[in-house]
């Protein structure tokens, strides 16, 4: 039975390959990719127009929490400096805030904990299609940025992280960016607690970003430095983030 199915699938496959070889070649063409990508830019504009400026992502209750919240991407950064920080419970960790700011700062974990906080139970949507629900506590990114006093030319917040990545040059570590519109959203927080416990390494300790109206790959884990920039052309390959440089859209609201 399975063998027949395999034969039929094989024959159909050969036919399909002939027809679709053309589509695959199209798919690899940078011009075609740019054209197809224009749809996501349209989506971003339309979603902002019809959805009002800053609606909140749905929030859930303790009863909705995922029994097992999947850890995706890096779950334990293979980096000596990071491992040393982790061994000391991140007491030596400092969040560097710089770039287009009047007041570059370095904040410790206790500095962040002393600032106003927000707690939210939200749904984490992965670009792969699955969802988990978790409870996050952290400092609103807007508070941290306010302290650093952004210059008028700042347009994006870039997150430099501690986890080394496979693609790119050997020293590539995770990087991501969001616009200031998303950065000052009330639910955009630098989370240091998950499900009422200190944020575990598997989920980005000591601090991970939560951007609740976008997909998981925007929510940088192991954040080391926040840089305010006018554009992200010089970041990585210039698409605005690690996964963006692998072909994913910068706007991850869909």
């Amino acid at each position: 039975m399975a063998l027949i199915a395999e034969r039929v699938a094989g024959a159909t496959g050969t036919l399909g390959t002939l027809l679709l070889g053309g589509c695959d070649r199209l798919s690899d063409d940078p011009t075609v990719q740019r054209m197809l990508g224009s749809a996501t830019r349209l989506t971003r504009v339309v979603q902002r127009l019809i959805g009002g400026t800053q609606p909140l992502a749905p929030e859930y209750t303790e009863a909705d929490l995922s029994p097992h919240f999947k850890s995706n991407g890096t779950s334990d950064p293979d980096d000596d400096d990071y491992q040393e920080l982790a061994a000391n419970g991140f007491t030596d960790w400092r969040l560097q805030v710089d770039g287009l700011v009047r007041n570059p700062t370095k904040l410790s974990l206790s500095d962040l904990r002393a600032m106003p906080s927000r707690t939210q139970i939200t749904r984490h949507d992965c670009v792969e299609g699955w969802s988990c629900i978790g409870k996050w506590k952290g400092v609103p990114l807007a508070e941290v940025m306010q302290q650093a006093e952004p210059q008028p030319s700042a347009r994006y917040a870039v997150f430099h992280c501690a986890d080394p990545m496979e693609n790119g040059n050997p020293n590539t570590k995770y990087y991501e960016s969001i616009d200031l519109h998303e950065a000052v959203h009330p639910q955009t927080i630098l989370a240091y607690e998950m499900n009422d416990k200190t944020l575990p390494v598997a989920h980005g300790a000591p601090v991970r970003l939560r951007v609740e109206r976008q997909l998981g790959y925007k929510m940088a884990k192991y954040v080391m430095r926040i840089e305010l920039v006018a554009d992200y052309a010089h970041l990585g390959d210039g698409k605005g983030g690690y996964w963006e440089d692998q072909g994913y859209a910068w706007y991850a609201g869909i």
Binding site: T17, C23, S38, A39, G51, R123, V127, I133, E212
Partner: protein, 299 residues
Amino acid sequence: MTAGVGKGRGGGRECERGAERGAPEPGSAMAFDLPALGGGAHHALINVLCLTILLMSGLQIFNAHPALYWGNLSDFDHPILALTSDQPANGSPKGVTTLFGHRIETTGVLGLSRDSNGQAWARGFPSWATLPGEQSLAEGRLWHFFFAWIFVINGAVYILAGLASGHLRRDLIPSWHDLRRIGRTAWDHLLFRFPKGDEARRYNVLQQLAYLLVIVAFLPVIVLAGLTMSPRMDAAFPLLVTVFDGRQSARTVHFILAWALVAFVLVHVFMVIVSGVWNNLRSMLTGRYAIEDAKHEAE
């Protein structure tokens, strides 16, 4: 897809005028029936192109996490449907489809299949069913969202024009008379007895109900279910999440409706073929549909 269904009632006057113009063949009358909206065929072609690309890029996206759940979150240990691969201790790897906990071996098609070079891959749907053929979630998403926009714009134009021209009301809303005879019509269809004479000029009640189901239910709901997977949409319209009983349910509904549309297209194409393929194709492209004389049939 729905617009290019060859024959529509198209208004009695146009039919008569067409019948005068067309050269009658022996035993049949040539009806001239303007395609609905004066461009039904081109709407249909755009729809077929969009739906094919949306289906194949959709299967590519599904392959990134080939499992379905109900509710808001993914209960990874208890999926409704999962397409996985198994590596037995001794033996070659197998493709496994799990539906409500029942495991079926589907090596070669679902869970594990070979690409055009003959190499076996652990993947939900096989490479010949996805766009692009190789595993690329990023490219699948680019194709899917681009053609989703074209599909929605094309569909909106079709529905607005159909409402304005009265085509939807006139040709797709079944009459009480037809609804009462639905059993008889269904029986005739099962025996491949198709309407003749004046009856053949219009959609029959089964066609009307099928097209209505697709136009007012399947297509809008599949678009809404797709949008419910967008976290930004859920922030703007939390009602979407409530209506679908969660984002993962919306994903499952989106998947089921995609296959329901495939089933609709297969039945549709089958009926086009068995009820007279050349006549139907000609009517789609030119508006001309040959009608067999009902009296002739009665003899």
